[in-house]
């Protein structure tokens, strides 16, 4: 009999849907609002690295900047040890204390933001019954305060050496956990957010304890490739070094990605993805076989792929200037799987 109710509900939904007014749902607005929430709630530009963020302003301004190869002077401004603008990833900070089980797992530059993600072994239930995902701590820094956006509220707290610190509470509390924002002695700001099993006062105490131990660290993160030339018109939009070894994935496979836009649309034109030969991409990937416009090579134990995502709708494909994906692939040098050989001199 429950089938009767199910059928009736389906018939109701279908019948009402047929007479429904045109939808006002705006996916573009969701993306824009979502990016704003990310910027203010969970991530922040690296301290002193606003020039880098501006150059990589995938979110705020579209991919309208110059290529990384053309902006070493601006990228290095105030970025600590960031090596002459040739490495898109930064350590963000050093931690004197993190809760048991957390390790640095991922460095990310994306959506105009840079962050470091610490993870545990899988411990939180995912949507799939019986499956677990890691708990996470995410830390970013910004040159300026990222003001909470209504209906968010704040509670002042004390963080060592900080003139101003507060917990930000999400408006409805259903999706975004409380986060801690604090100003450093140099005037920049940090944002720390956790996705784990604890909430309320216990979560806030943990955030403050971690924050008390944080020391800014703008050191560049070594990556396993060097790129001789970035295609004309290409703008770096996102980069990441994800290291699933710390969260127990098997086989371990540090995954490096660099995503470039075409300077006009907000979509990615091409990506460079690097993983150990034979490893399985832990983040999934394109459905179906590689496109004919993609190109891959194996070198020194690494599989390096240039994935052409240009949809042809937004003007010139930056890869055309270097002979397509294969042309760019020829300009990428593998440094192998031994991290001691990796470089901070990534983009020429």
């Amino acid at each position: 009999m429950n089938q009767h109710l199910k059928t009736s509900l389906e018939e109701l939904a279908d019948a009402e849907y047929a007479d429904a007014p045109p939808t006002t749902v705006d996916i573009g607005r969701a993306r824009a609002d979502g990016r704003r929430r990310i910027a203010t709630a969970r991530l922040a530009p690296i301290g002193g690295g606003l020039a880098l963020v501006a150059a990589c302003a995938l979110v705020a301004n579209g991919l309208g900047g110059t290529s990384p190869a053309e902006r070493p002077a601006t990228m290095s401004a105030g970025s600590g040890d960031l090596t002459a603008g040739t490495d898109p990833l930064s350590e963000v900070a050093s931690f004197g204390y993190v809760p048991d089980g957390y390790q640095v797992a991922t460095h990310v530059l994306g959506s105009g933001l840079t962050t470091v993600i610490l993870q545990t072994k899988p411990m939180l239930p995912s949507q799939k019954p019986g499956d677990l995902i890691p708990a996470e701590l995410q830390l970013s820094s910004s040159a300026t305060e990222l003001k909470p956006v209504p209906p968010e509220t704040t509670t002042e707290v004390k963080v060592k050496g900080s003139p101003k610190a507060y917990i930000v509470h999400d408006g409805d509390g259903t999706e975004i956990a409380d986060r801690l924002q604090w100003q450093t002695a140099s005037g920049s700001w940090f944002t720390l957010v956790a996705f784990n099993k604890i909430h309320g006062a216990q979560l806030q105490a943990m955030l403050v304890k971690v924050a008390d131990s944080v020391t800014a660290n703008g050191s560049a993160v070594p990556l396993p490739i060097h790129i001789d030339g970035v295609p004309k018109g290409a703008t770096l939009g996102a980069a990441s070094l994800a290291d699933p070894i710390v969260v127990g994935q098997n086989p371990p496979a540090a995954r490096t990605t660099l995503d470039f836009g075409d300077g006009k649309s907000r979509f990615i034109s091409f990506s460079i993805v690097v993983m150990p030969v034979g490893s399985t991409d832990p983040q999934g990937g394109k459905s179906g076989p590689p496109a004919s416009t993609d190109a891959c090579k194996d070198s020194k134990g690494l599989r390096i792929c240039v994935l052409d995502s240009h949809d042809g709708a937004s003007g010139v494909d930056p890869l055309e200037s270097v002979g397509g994906a294969k042309g760019l692939l020829d300009q990428i040098t593998s440094l192998g799987t031994d991290r001691s050989n990796w470089t901070t001199h990534v983009l020429n």
């Binding site: 199910k6 749902v25 969701a30 019954p129 995902i133 409805d172 907000r266 990937g285």
Partner: protein
Amino acid sequence: MATPDRDAEFTEYASARQAWLRRVAYLLCGDWHRADDLVQSTITKLYTHWHRARRVDNIDGYARRTLVNTYLAEQRSGWAKWTVLHRFGGGHAADPEPDPAALGDLALGLDLKTALAKLPPRQRATVVLRFYCDLSVEQTAQIMSCSTGTVKSQSTRGLATLRTLLDPNLIPAMEGLL
């Protein structure tokens, strides 16, 4: 190998599942404008958490959970409490039971849409998840962040209310369902 194009992936998913999310949202709230607002909030949150959502095997489940949580959070707002209180003429604001007197005024054979509107938010969400989305008691409990016992009791109450308002043959007996 992946093309980690967050925007493109999200846009493809949201475009493909928007109609389904609208239907579920409509069954939850009974109004297309509110349904659109719920879906808008849901996909905004989904975008915010896309790096996590894309890692789960069942993105639909993640989106549905976000939608239901958004709906229930909205019901806890002051405006929603006011509406419920005035619709039923009183009751417990957080998760009110319908006023029997008010229900008694309803004609038998009431249409399903109107009957659903008489259910308190959590009962309504339970009925939609169990009997429209075809989820188990355990899956519904996970989405609503409550125990299976609570889901069973909410189902029982929700179905009991619907039976008083609709053709009893339409509403499943409790045995074997809970």
